[in-house]
């Protein structure tokens, strides 16, 4: 322990108890140390006395300055930070807005990313095809069909144009569940017919309150025509109209959407009539007749008696006639399943009618909003990607700027 080094600390009460006790003991036997201590005390006392008293100024002015407290948005640091953040966001958006085009078809990349469904729908291979049915020849068997499966004579001229090979006819699967029954989408191809010919006829009853009955009926006719159908019945006056519209089965949903927009919907009834049973019965009868004809032909060849031969031939002709009838009946059933009837009742409204937004319109609005939001996100993300790609350039510059700013600040402070 060096007494002289610790005397000042002892004088200032900065020694711990043990060191202070030892130093006091050492001081007892060291006159020079005692003198040193006395001198230090006198110097410290003198220093406190020689300072000229300074008058404190500026306190009131400082309190006034602090009273006008700055808002955070007036803080230059906050403004600078907000400016940088806003610039970054805007910059990212504009960077993302630059067109990235696909080398193959020059289509903007975002469309490929955001609208794959639209691309598929537009593809000719994937687009649903609509096949024309063979001409209809009303027969006695067809007359025996349910009313809903009958084909209106007034549509005959239209229907006769709808001709196509048998294997390309489009049939409709009988809905098996409530969820399936809501969808009226067709099953395409003859395979569905050859094994399980589930056929159904859809009849729809629709009551709509409209502002102008004649205009609405004209629009309804155009809707059916545009969808590949026709108006089979029209009975109209100034306040009321009854229409029968026949439209292809796969266009029923679209037709309903358009017809609802004519005015205010009062009532909608959808009736699906299964035709599979009648079709199967006819097919069974056909098979039975074919077997019977084949047996009769064998008998014709075997017999030597002319009167028997003539009788067999007569029976064959009758059965052929019946066979033809059943064939035509099934053909009619297929056609009936292909087309749907909409019984449209138009009532003149006493008050102005505002057509409600359809489900598709609401979905479209939501889809537009979603697509817009996705586009903004996509552009920002693309901008960030550009920033990341260009980071070897701007990151060193930013770091250099920060270093220079810090160096400048340090220089001014010290």
């Amino acid at each position: 322990m060096n007494i002289h080094e610790d005397i000042k600390a002892y004088l200032d009460n900065e020694l711990n108890t043990e060191d202070a006790r030892r130093l006091e003991e050492a001081l007892q036997n060291d006159p020079l140390a005692q003198e040193h201590l006395a001198h230090l005390k006198a110097i410290a006392h003198g220093l406190r006395l020689v300072e000229a008293e300074a008058t404190v100024k500026g306190k009131a002015a400082l309190l006034d300055r602090l009273a006008t407290k700055k808002k955070f948005y007036n803080n230059p640091k906050f403004l600078a930070l907000a400016g940088v953040a806003a610039s970054l966001l805007i910059g990212c958006f504009f960077l993302g807005n630059l067109s990235l085009r696909d080398a193959d078809n020059s289509e903007p990349l975002q469309y490929k990313l955001l609208a794959p469904a639209a691309k598929v729908e537009a593809s000719p291979d994937a687009s649903p095809t609509y096949k024309r049915a063979p001409a209809i020849r009303p027969t006695s068997a067809a007359k025996a069909m349910p009313d809903s499966a009958k084909f209106d004579k007034r549509g005959g001229s239209e229907a006769e144009n709808l001709s196509a090979p048998e294997d390309q006819i489009q049939y409709y699967v009988q809905p098996e569940t409530p969820a399936q029954s809501r969808s009226l989408q067709p099953s395409v191809g003859s395979a569905a017919v050859s094994n399980t010919p589930y056929l159904t006829k859809t009849d729809i009853s629709l009551d709509v309150e409209v502002q102008d009955v004649s205009e609405a009926s004209s629009k309804a006719s155009n809707i059916a025509k545009d969808l590949g159908g026709f108006t089979s019945h029209l009975d109209a006056n100034s306040s009321h109209a009854n229409m029968s519209l026949t439209v292809p089965h796969d266009k029923v949903d679209a037709a309903l959407e358009d017809l609802k927009r004519l005015g205010s919907l009062l009532q909608l009834t959808v009736d699906n009539t299964p035709l599979s049973g009648a079709y199967q019965n006819n097919a069974d009868e056909e098979a039975r007749l074919k077997e019977s004809i084949a047996e009769l032909r064998k008998l014709v060849n075997q017999t030597n008696k002319p009167y028997q031969r003539e009788q067999f031939l007569s029976e064959i002709n009758e059965k052929l006639q019946e066979l033809d009838n059943f064939k035509h009946a099934n053909s009619g059933i297929k056609s009936a399943a292909r087309m749907s009837t909409i019984q449209l009742a138009l009532e003149k409204a006493s008050k102005p009618v505002t057509p409600p937004k359809t489900k598709s319109e609401i979905e479209q609005t939501i889809e537009d909003m979603t697509t817009g939001f996705k586009m903004v996100l996509f552009k920002v993300f693309k901008g960030l990607t550009y920033l990341a790609i260009a980071s070897p350039v701007w990151v060193p510059l930013v770091l250099l700027g920060m270093w220079l700013a810090r160096a400048s600040r340090n220089k001014s402070n010290f």
Partner: protein, 169 residues
């Protein structure tokens, strides 16, 4: 010896107006001893404005005055640089009778002369301890140096003062 007002304040949450009310005089004198009375006003005001924006950084590990003097110390250094001043512009009174303490007489002029011959580091630490009344630990926090260095500098500063005053004591 000047006494430092102690304020019972919450550990971290400080109000700048309370700080001004309680510590402005101490901070002003601290600044006046370094940059002179003419610039002390600016230095003290800048100290409190800096403290206002740094209130959130105060962790309560030291007394508020110690924290404020640390800020004032940096402000004074900035003013030294800006105005190209020599450190420690303390005004000392050379006029008046000699100082007598426990039988020892010191001439004022000799004491002031001896003080001015100290290095700026020694003058600063003598001011902090003898005039500001800070403990070694508080000085260490203000100057951001170890406590041992404070003890050593004070020891050497007073030794130098005693040696310079040797003939007059």
């Amino acid at each position: 010896m000047q006494t430092t007002q102690q304020m019972s304040v919450p550990r971290v949450k400080l109000d700048i107006r309370d700080l001004v009310e309680h510590y402005y005089a101490d901070v002003y004198r601290f600044c006046a001893r370094r940059v002179g009375t003419e610039l002390a006003n600016d230095a003290a005001q800048d100290t409190f404005l800096s403290a206002q924006s740094a209130l959130g950084k105060f962790r309560g590990e030291s007394k508020p005055l110690t924290w404020l003097l640390g800020i004032a110390h940096n402000e004074c250094r900035r003013i030294f640089r800006k105005n190209k001043l020599a450190p420690c512009q303390i005004s000392l009174d050379t006029k008046g009778p000699a100082i007598e303490f426990e039988g020892i007489v010191i001439k004022r002029e000799s004491l002031v002369q001896a003080f001015r011959q100290l290095s700026s580091e020694h003058r600063e630490i003598v001011i902090l301890h003898e005039l500001e009344g800070l403990t070694y630990e508080e000085i260490a926090k203000v100057l951001n140096i170890p406590v041992g260095t404070v003890k050593s500098r004070l020891h050497h500063a007073f030794n130098n003062l005693r040696q310079t005053l040797g003939g007059t004591l």
